[in-house]
Amino acid sequence: MTDATLTSAPAGRATRRGIVRVALRGLLYLLLALFVAYYILPLFVMAVTSLKSLDEIRAGSLMSLPDSASLVSWATAWSSACAGIQCEGLQPFFWNSVKMVVPAVFLSTFLGAVNGYALSHWRFRGANLIFALMLFGCFIPFQVVLLPMARTLGLLGLAGSLGGLVLVHVVYGLGFTTLFFRNYYVTIPVELVKAAKIDGAGFFTIFFRIFLPLSPPIIVVTVIWQFTQIWNDFLFGVSFSQAGTQPVTVALNNIVNSTTGVKEYNVDMAAAIIAGLPTLIVYVLAGKYFIRGLTAGSVKG
């Protein structure tokens, strides 16, 4: 279409329009480049700082590349930096986070899927009210639930344990995961469920055999969302853990704040990157599915 109109237009006008288009395109790329720089710069500063020695940090500029890159600070951050009185680096806390995030993401995603399926295709009495309450749950600030949650965990005997943290994150994430799955599943035609019921399938057979196989796009979205939320969480981590069960975010804070004497910026930066790495990796690996899942259209029968 565009080509046809261009060639049939007078030559002068065509070239002028061509120039305008190139100029606009250039402007667009310039803007994009600025945004990229804006977002990448902090990461760049962190990365180069983590590779420098303390002397070089004090002497050189923030932006300059290291004279001799060294991974010493990374090693320190990983295995020997002091978080409070404990000097084993981030390592044990990193594994705490992994042990917390894997079951919490799995459970909240799975339960969200079951909830979303029930709410969208098994219109039981009070379904709308329950959905409204769950939505409401999404908007309750973390701080509000701290005390009741602490009391509940105490009663359950889960206070200070990783299991308790998993429970907190599952409960808090359920509103979001349910919302995601429910909104995805309402696009699946009701006839599909009717046909399956007549075929003799029950609630869970329909869920596992028909709905779950259609769900990868929304599962990716939910997993990324939940992983990011739970891995990056600090408030629940600091409130409901004790020595030995603290997640990596809490340990990072302790490392950065408990340095006595000279502030080891290179170790702090390395520790911060290590703590943030898993979320980065998840985005790089699954980012394109994330976009696809967010924009996924309805499922056709």
Partner: protein
């Protein structure tokens, strides 16, 4: 006639309300083995709801549903010995055609061998052998419809339920599949309840037609009977295309002779109606609606022994379809439609000699709109 208990499907006093919307009111229905019942009616009259109640996908508010003589009112869909085909096909998108068809058997615990032999039979019958490994997304509409039917056939149910299965197909395919369904019905001796809003489909498929209007069954009977003797003006207008002509009239009784007066261009014409079987008699001066099907309004001479009337009417619209001409004619301040031979020269605006054959008229009370 078989005994009442032999009815494959029997519905007694079925009512269905959503909150305070009454969708179905006091439906009574019974069909015998091998029947092809078509529920037909305009969109929103409750056809799908009725079918869903029979399938167990909706719970009736009151009333009973018996399938094969057993009370199934509260039974789960899977225990009713039924199979259903939906307008949207409702194929499982994540499964191949073969697995779509055998899913029900698998859920019920049929062995692999049973599944395979049933699948082969059905696939052969529906000519979908070559599609078995495809996903539904890679099938055409007609193919999807066949697969959906395969899924129902493999069940070998007591009762088949079809909810507008052809409405998503294009016109040509629809006629083809219609014939196919009819053939399957005959070949399998199946009992079918079939929902459609298309009266042509209803007429061509049904052994019994139930015309529904606003949640009630207005008329139930063989297609020809419903066509010839519609019980009210709704059924009369809904069944048949082009639609039946309705002309306001008044009964005049003169001794033994019964006539229907119609006013026409200021004048009054009297049409003979002695031959019409007014059940329960008729009063002089009663206000009625005269119903005449378009095929009884034409230029050709009806046989002499049939009551008829000849009028000169002005054509306002002519549509040709090759085998006849569908003509709208000015009649007083309204219009009637007729069917003329394609050989007849008809010019818009030029009066044409029109014969109205009165042998197959319907007469309705103008107040109650019921057949007299």
């Amino acid at each position: 006639m078989a005994a009442q208990n032999d009815a494959v499907l029997k519905i007694e006093g079925l009512t269905k309300s959503f909150q305070n919307v009454h969708v179905l009111m006091n439906i009574d229905l019974a069909i015998e083995e091998g029947a092809f019942l078509v529920l037909v009616g305009p969109s929103g009259c409750g056809k799908s709801t009725l079918l869903n109640c029979v399938a167990g996908l909706e719970a009736p508010t009151s009333g009973r549903i018996l399938i094969g003589g057993r009370d199934m009112t509260d039974a789960a869909p899977k225990d009713r010995d039924i199979a259903m085909v939906f307008q949207s096909y409702a194929l499982y998108p994540n499964m191949s055609v073969a697995r779509n068809i055998t899913f029900g058997m698998k859920v019920r615990g049929a062995t692999r061998a049973e599944q395979r032999s049933a699948l082969e039979k059905v696939a052969h019958m529906l000519k979908i052998d070559h599609l078995l490994n495809r996903r539904p997304a890679h099938l055409s509409g007609g193919q999807r419809q066949r697969v959906a039917m395969g899924r129902a056939l493999v069940r070998q149910p007591k009762l088949f339920l079809f909810d507008e299965p052809l409405s998503n197909l294009d016109a040509k395919l629809r006629v083809e599949m219609r014939a196919e369904i009819k053939r399957l019905h005959r070949a399998l001796g199946a009992t079918i309840v079939y929902v459609t809003h298309d009266q042509t489909e209803a007429m061509s498929l049904a052994t019994e037609v139930a015309v529904m209007e606003g949640g009630v069954i207005a008329q139930l009977g063989p297609p020809q009977q419903v066509y010839d003797y519609p019980v009210n003006t709704f059924v009369a207008g809904f069944i048949g295309s082009p639609a039946m002509n309705f002309i306001n009239g008044r009964i005049s009784k003169d001794g033994g002779a019964i006539r229907i007066q119609v006013s026409f261009d200021g004048a009054t014409r009297e049409l003979p109606a002695d031959h019409y079987p007014f059940g329960g008699g008729i009063e002089d001066g009663a206000e009625v609606i005269l119903g005449i099907r378009p095929e009884y309004v034409s230029g050709s001479d009806p046989s002499a022994d049939r009551p008829n009337v000849a009028l000169d009417l002005v054509p306002t619209l002519v549509e040709t379809n090759g085998f006849d001409q569908h003509v709208n004619l000015a009649f007083g301040d309204s219009e009637i439609s007729g069917r003329f031979s394609p050989r007849e020269q008809i010019k818009l605006g030029t009066p044409v000699r029109t014969r109205i054959d009165l042998s197959q008229i319907s007469v309705f009370d103008r107040e109650t709109r019921q057949r007299l």
